[in-house]
Symmetry: C2
Subunit: 346 residues, 2 copies
Amino acid sequence: MPLTLDQHSRRVKHPTIIDVAALAGVSKSVVSRVMREDPTVGPARREAVMAAAGELGYRPNAVARSLVQQRTFNIGVIVSDLHNLFFAEILDGIGAAAASAGYQVLVTSGSLLQSNEARALETMVQLRTDGIILAGSQLSTETIRAASRRVPMAVVTSAIRAPGVDTVATDDVRGAALAVAHLASLGHGWISMVDGGTGAGSAERCEGYAQAMHQIGIGQYIRIAPGDYTEEGGHQGATRLLEMKPRPTAIYAANDLSAIGALNAIAEAGLEVPRDISVVGHDNTALAALRHVSLTTVHQPRFQIGEMAMRALLRRFERPTARARHELLEPHLVVRETTARARSSP
Amino acid sequence: MPLTLDQHSRRVKHPTIIDVAALAGVSKSVVSRVMREDPTVGPARREAVMAAAGELGYRPNAVARSLVQQRTFNIGVIVSDLHNLFFAEILDGIGAAAASAGYQVLVTSGSLLQSNEARALETMVQLRTDGIILAGSQLSTETIRAASRRVPMAVVTSAIRAPGVDTVATDDVRGAALAVAHLASLGHGWISMVDGGTGAGSAERCEGYAQAMHQIGIGQYIRIAPGDYTEEGGHQGATRLLEMKPRPTAIYAANDLSAIGALNAIAEAGLEVPRDISVVGHDNTALAALRHVSLTTVHQPRFQIGEMAMRALLRRFERPTARARHELLEPHLVVRETTARARSSP
DNA sequence: CTGAAAGCGCTAACAC
DNA sequence: GTGTTAGCGCTTTCAG
């Protein structure tokens, strides 16, 4: 086989519908119809067009098509942070729902910067995506409201309220309550929490924790140490909690990463999980499933969140002025090996 | 403040350049010029146009612009798997280099399915993105070759060779050698490896390991257990290695996740890291940095990989027919707490 | 069934 | 400086 070098690297201009028409000996309307699988084309000409298109390697120009059709069949998704695996699964859900409706998903990352997100939003609007999904957005309600007047939008995991903007999220209040209920059912009373600072969903998780504690009748044992959804934050928060008297027999951390931090702090204090102390996380990330972490945690139906956000958009394409819907999905608990029956309780 | 309900949710049609021109009392060329910051416009009219555009909330239609300019200023990135954090940082690098050159990045995920990737590629071509970057692609050389005749392409972390297609990757052979050299310098001789099966870079990492072992003069101790880049694979591979006589005093796992599996297997065998046995991973993922993992591992300059891929594309915009360049970046070792001096050696 | 023609919103000569 | 005009590649009436 001879060495081909770069002889093929000369770039070829994209053939147009006119080139195909000329080669097939038909008008460009016919080519257009064949490309769109319009049935009103004779089989002979259809064949000819297909052959010509194949020969030229013709690819329809989506830009031109979008211009005339006034729609792009693209959905823009702006993710606050692609480093957060949380969003990968949401994207899967969005992608699945989009694909089955004939839409293509375009993702841009805000990289956690509000200015970047604003730029990304602007780009999506200029690109005339048919709809936009914001995932974990930090954008202001005003910005979102303004954009939503121009293009259908849906928001994921963020408590934005704007007219005509649908939202989808997991019920974090409920999720935290699940964690507390599980621990209480194991006989724990001294259940403390490491919170998530200003992070997304942190307020709800705190509320759910406190609410559940009260409801179970152990409200007097509520202790919340500050955290920030990081491993370090979880470590510090848990360290502080462990110094308290009576020492908690269970810790609910606002997310898995901080739960891992708590696990470290507990080990450093010479205690053993789950014998001396139980730990529950939140989010059921890949971390929680690691063998030697094996963390009991609250799972969010991420894939489904993505699907529902996309479906909300599709609904809005049909009825643009419908009232905004705010869907709250049910989390569930995944019990692993960091929780056990309490050895002492109030 | 009155409750506004959904009264604002009526969607507004995008105003066009003509609407702006009418409102500003100028011709549409003037509007076009102002939008493109063409200096040949009188200040009075420029003001008028800006005001009108602001009032109408005019956003240029990128679709129309792309059609006439024959370029979109979009770069398509096809990522094999957004669940792999490895790619998040590469995307950051691409994004940074793209932004500073005035390009917008559009990401689609192949979700590890070749058919999906092919669809994504097709979409990008139809969208007429100015360039395409493949990250971790499973696409066939033939597919890539064909597409690259239509649009500039660059490939990341994949050993594709096609005319006019630039590639960027880390030198995995070298990375594996770094791991071995580090262990050898600590006095280890019985250094075994858990490989990555058919995964990306696995072959190179095996080669680097074997090569380095020979070079150091301990080629007779080469032992490679099968793995597959998963935690479970690492566990099984390491378990097998631990049964060998003489038992290895060090294990190099082909990636961090399987290194963690190895760590578990070692603990289960009642041995202690790094006292009894040292472990080195590869990739320096977030996992490796976890406190109670604290894995010594080989770091790849991911951000830089992304940057260079984007730069390759930019170069190619200038000189479309240039010879393909294949850049190999240097990895380096991040020493943490899973490696220590050998207590016995051959 | 097929072709001709009129745009989609914008840019880029080219006149004025 | 500014307006006019001819497209970019495609879809979509509307005649034939």
